[in-house]
Amino acid sequence: MPFAIEVKNLKKSFGDLQAVQDASFNAEAGEVLSLLGPNGAGKSTTISMLSGLLAPTGGDASIMGHSITKEPEAAKSSLGVVPQDIALYPDLSARENLVFWGKMYGLRGAALKQRVDEVLEIIGLTDRQKDHIGKFSGGMKRRVNIGAALLHKPDVIIMDEPTVGIDPQSRRHILDNVKALNRQGMTVLYTTHYMEEAAELSDHIAIMDRGKVIAYGAHDQLIKMVGEETRIDLTLNTDGEKVLAAWKATQGVSQINSLDGKVTVLVDDSNRVLPHLFEEASKAGARITSVEIQEPNLETVFLHLTGRALRD
């Protein structure tokens, strides 16, 4: 069975800048694949190519077996795209927006009306359907933004960071919607820089950094890449140059990353190493003001692979 999404050596350059370099990954039909990476990793450029907004500089990709370069219309007809920004007409109502986009996806007559009603139900805005989008809150706009991509019941839906900048309640609503869509059989390509979203939703995760896919696999497979390493996040009361140097030399510490007074340390055994970290800090005249111990997660994997935190 062909992949719902198949990306082969996809490249995109803007002048000298190589935004995406030989990206390759696949998504089977009916799965959720997350593209995880920090801002500027190349996630949005990759999905812009898959959506037909940008022409690849090299490589190819297919949506439901249709090449995005050779059969773009066929590829796009299997696709629903939820852009990162709100892509709706603010002077039209929620219903008018959905009706218009339904028509753009080829729906007509009773089928269009029925589908618009269904989508309004899915996004929980049936009672606000006649209000102009311009009057909606950010979370409600996001929901209509998603709804517009669901109208034609696409085989594949691409969501570009749909939870950026919204309240926790709307975020929960969107994540639940993604799961519901996936249960209905839709293949979802979900980009995010929130590792907990990727962990919660995904069957497979492709981690991107600086235009490259640096890891691909199921959540547990990726976690195993860092072995049994535990991540300790600490805050120091000083810059702590001497402390960091001492910690690097401590046995059991595999990696240290420091940003804005917060230090992330990967260790093989937190119970054994943590007392040494306190001791070295004390010797250097610094004080640890907070400590958080985390079991291996995707953040740890990213740190392990790049030497930087996802938030960097």
Partner: protein
């Protein structure tokens, strides 16, 4: 079908904006009235102006047949405007420049002429001035005619062998004078025009709105470039263009949908102005309704397609306005919407005539001023459609290269 859906969506958005309706209807009507009034004022001034050379007339020969004939001949002249003066005021009028000269008929002038003498008229003028010289030459012609008529009358009366009485002589003189007048008015030389007929008289025909109405109509149609260009910019700003690009619609379909919407808006504006011109200003677009319709459709398509090209070239609203204004001034000025190209000459007229706006004006003026029919609209319509197609192709090409 999706092209039409896109068109209807655009139109629905445009007509919800009350400000755009004001701009669409009220502004062009106000401008049409203003421009028509300006042309009309110019025409009235022309009407009261008399360019004939003013000549003072002092008649010291009241009741004289010959002096009266001379007075009438001068009064009917296309070149001389006779102003009757009292003898005392004559010199003063010349000095003040109220008349170019004064012609004085002495007492007994007619009697001497009938007797076969050569009576002398007196002309008071500055012979060094151009008007003084002109009036001298003009007078010589008229006086020669009058004296010739008298000579002919005398000879005619003398052929009977009897002494001519006064009434016979007067009748013969009147006959001879009429013969001169008829000879003057008869077309003995056929004159063919070396210039177009439209150069003669008022270039807007009998109604100054014949220029103002289509001129403003075309100019405001070109103003549609702003709205047309802003459609793509707004769609990009709201990211809806990006969403549309992710559907299976092709680039040309997206441009076609928006172009049709703007075609509708511009055409509606033109239709309103045509109706206003026809009903309120007496501009006879309905002399050839189909011709006016063809030109209007083609004009609307050209503006809509060119607006799309501007929208596909620019980055934001301010650039749309800049490009649209530049285009409006160039196409309006060179295309003859402010004044007809017939009154301009040289490179200006040559370049102007190639402008699509000039073809639109030409199409309308063929109907309104030149009184031509449907056949006169085909060429302007065809040229405008060629421009529309060219701009549409360029807009699609540029749209495909746009950064989303």
């Amino acid at each position: 079908m999706r092209i039409i859906d896109l068109t209807l969506k655009d139109l629905s958005q445009i007509f919800r904006d009350k400000r755009s309706l004001l701009f669409l209807v009220a502004m062009p009507i106000i401008f049409t009235l203003f421009m028509g009034f300006a042309y009309k004022s110019g025409k009235d001034e022309d009407a009261v102006q008399d360019n004939r050379i003013p000549l003072g007339w002092v008649n010291n020969d009241p009741g004289g047949v010959v002096s009266q004939e001379l007075f009438e001949m001068l009064s009917n002249s296309d070149s001389i405007r006779v102003v009757e003066l009292a003898a005392a005021a004559a010199n003063d009028s010349v000095r003040k420049g109220e008349v170019a000269g004064v012609l004085i008929a002495p007492a007994g002038y007619s009697e001497q002429a009938e007797a076969g003498d050569d009576p002398q008229l007196t002309l008071v003028t500055d012979t060094n001035s151009a008007q003084g010289q002109s009036i001298y030459q003009l007078l010589r012609t008229s006086v020669t005619k009058v004296m010739s008529a008298m000579e002919i009358a005398r000879l005619s009366a003398g052929m009977t062998g009897k002494p001519a009485d006064a009434s016979e002589l007067d009748a013969a003189f009147a006959s001879a004078s009429r013969a001169w007048a008829e000879a003057d008015s008869a077309s003995l030389v056929k004159v063919e025009l070396a210039v177009e007929e439209s150069f003669l008289g008022d270039w807007y025909g009998d109604n100054p709105y014949n220029q103002a109405s289509p001129g403003i109509l075309v100019q405001f149609a070109i103003m549609g470039l702003v709205s047309s260009g802003q459609i793509l910019v707004q769609e990009r700003k709201t990211r809806t263009l990006q969403r549309m690009m992710s559907t299976s619609m092709r680039s040309w379909e997206i441009i076609a949908g928006h172009t049709l919407a703007m075609f509708g808006v511009v055409f509606l504006q033109i239709a309103l102005l045509v109706v206003f011109g026809q009903l309120a200003l007496g501009v006879d677009y309905l002399r050839s309704p189909l011709g006016a319709l063809l030109v209007s459709v083609a004009l609307s398509l050209w503006v809509a397609a060119m607006g799309m090209l501007i929208g596909a070239m620019v980055k934001d609203d301010s650039q749309v306005i800049l490009f649209a204004l530049m285009a409006m001034f160039i196409f309006s000025a060179l295309g003859g919407t402010w004044f007809p190209l017939e009154v301009s000459s040289g490179a200006f007229a040559l370049i102007g005539k190639a402008m699509p706006s000039a073809w639109a004006m030409n199409g309308y003026q063929n109907i309104l001023i030149r009184g031509l029919g449907l056949e006169s609209a085909w060429l302007p319509t065809g040229m405008l459609l060629v421009y529309a197609l060219g701009f549409f192709v360029l807009a699609v090409w540029r749209f495909r290269k746009m950064d989303m």
